[in-house]
Symmetry: C2
Subunit: 163 residues, 2 copies
Amino acid sequence: MDKETLIQAEKVLRAARLKGMKIATAESCTGGLIAAALTEIAGSSDVVDRGFVTYSNAAKQQMLGVSARSLTEFGAVSEATAKEMAYGALANSRADIAVSVTGIAGPSGATKSKPVGTVWFGLAEQGSAPIVAHMVFENSDRSEVRSKTVKHALSMILNALDV
Amino acid sequence: MDKETLIQAEKVLRAARLKGMKIATAESCTGGLIAAALTEIAGSSDVVDRGFVTYSNAAKQQMLGVSARSLTEFGAVSEATAKEMAYGALANSRADIAVSVTGIAGPSGATKSKPVGTVWFGLAEQGSAPIVAHMVFENSDRSEVRSKTVKHALSMILNALDV
C-alpha cells in the first residue's frame, strides 16, 4: 500500500470518527483494496463496518440488490450499477456512508465506449442525495487503475465528510 | 502487493480454474487483502466470485451467519468463529471453496491468551470436512501480520486444491 493512500485512509478515518460515522465499501474492480487501505490503519475498527467485494454480477445482485435490468441494460460498469451498489452497501450494513466502485481494470474487458481505465463511482449517505462520478484513468496498467481508483474513492468519502 | 503473494495468487487461480472451481473469501483482520491479491491478477473474474469483509461482529453475524454464541463464548478471534465464517461464505455465495481469516493484527486488541499476531483460519469446501488452522505471527507489526495472513490463507486454498 503506497504512502499517499495510507495518509488519505487515515484522514478518512479521522473525519468519520469526528462525525461518529461508520463506513462501508462496495468494490468490484478494486477487489477489496479500498477496505484493505482503510483497515491498514490501526484502530480502524471503530469506523469500518464492512466491505462487499462483489466481483461477479451475481454477487452484485445478491449482496447489494443491484437490479438485473441495470446490469443488462447499462452493464456492470455504469452509473446505474455504481449508484445501486452504493445504495445497497448502505442498506445492507450499519454504515452511515458507503462508497462503491465498478470499472475496467484491464487488460481485457474494454469496449468501444468503455476503454480500460473506465471507472464509475457511487457515494451514498444516510439522508443525502447520492453522488456519482466517472473517471477514465488513461495509460494505466491494471495495478495503476486499481490504485488510482482507491485514491479517488477515498477522496470522495473525504469530500462528502466536508473535510 | 509483494511479488511472492502475487505468484501465489496466480497459482491459486490456475489451480481453481483447472478444477472449474470458484472462490469466496471471508476476511476480518486482513480487511479485503486476500480478495485484493486474487483480483490483482488479470482474468481472475472467472474464479473469484465474491468477498466478505466482515470487520465488525455485526457484519460477521449478518453477512456470514456467525452465531452470537461463538462470538461471546469464544470471541471473534477463535476456531469457532473462523469455521462459521468459512461456512457462511460458502453458503452465501456461488463459490465451491471459501477461506476465512480472523485475527489480531495489532498493535492493540491483544489479550493474555491471544497475543498480537494470533490468527485463526477456516477453509470450507463443498462436500469436504472443514479445515481450521491457527497461527501466531510473532515479532510482526500490523502490516506484517496482515501480509503473512494473506500468504497463509492462499497456501491453504492451494493445499485444498491438491496442488
